[in-house]
Symmetry: C2
Subunit: 129 residues, 2 copies
Amino acid sequence: MDSVDAPGPAASLVSDVFARACTSREAFEGVTSRWSSLVLLALGEGPHRFGELRRRVEGVSERMLAQALRGLERDGLVSRADAGTIPPRVDYALTPLGEAVATGLRDLADVLEAAVPAIDRARVDYDAR
Amino acid sequence: MDSVDAPGPAASLVSDVFARACTSREAFEGVTSRWSSLVLLALGEGPHRFGELRRRVEGVSERMLAQALRGLERDGLVSRADAGTIPPRVDYALTPLGEAVATGLRDLADVLEAAVPAIDRARVDYDAR
DNA sequence: CGGTATCCACCAAGATACTG
DNA sequence: CAGTATCTTGGTGGATACCG
């Protein structure tokens, strides 16, 4: 995996989200995908069990949650601790890398949450045209 | 930063990305959706014309690019300047809100780009199970 | 050049049922 | 409780053709 053609300002960059086949783009898409981002946000508030996540992330199905968690675990953003007990208990938490990503996502969510009134206004304006 | 289910420090919070019907979640999903995030990243490097964006964001189709731009314009993240000339010239740029979001996305991309080796390793480990 | 319109394939994703 | 299996469908998104 290398640069596109004409590397930009940061010519020493080894990975590039704009590059179709780059791991960073795949990871970026994984992180920003619908449920994964909300799961990371939830785990940013502390470790959660499966059921807790299901309740915290409104609207997620078991299937999608399991899938998101598997993807995040695979990329090393989330750790999975199976207590091996009955009834089962599995705790999910962020790895250090996951923390860094979740923090970024939190900042983004904060910006958007604060901008809700402006966004609502912009939508009304736009739709009125 | 805050606790899991207690309202937390910002008890006056009016919007919540975890809420299914909240504008902030819609906007969050718009911003993190596949092509929109890459478009914002590209525009974070400066204003671009349609064709420039198409080339910069590897793999995007005209249809998806147009759709992403419309969504971002609707939410007030991107401004559209049609020169009205022939041949046509339309410049896209970030609004102040768009800048804030793009900066957050950039941070995220930086983290992920830097973490590529770790992610690749994590994937190999995971897949070996 | 900067789009829109149309068609179509595929997969994301929901519902449901079942298991360790 | 924490998932997996299976089925089904609607939306996402690609290809192509065309318009101002």
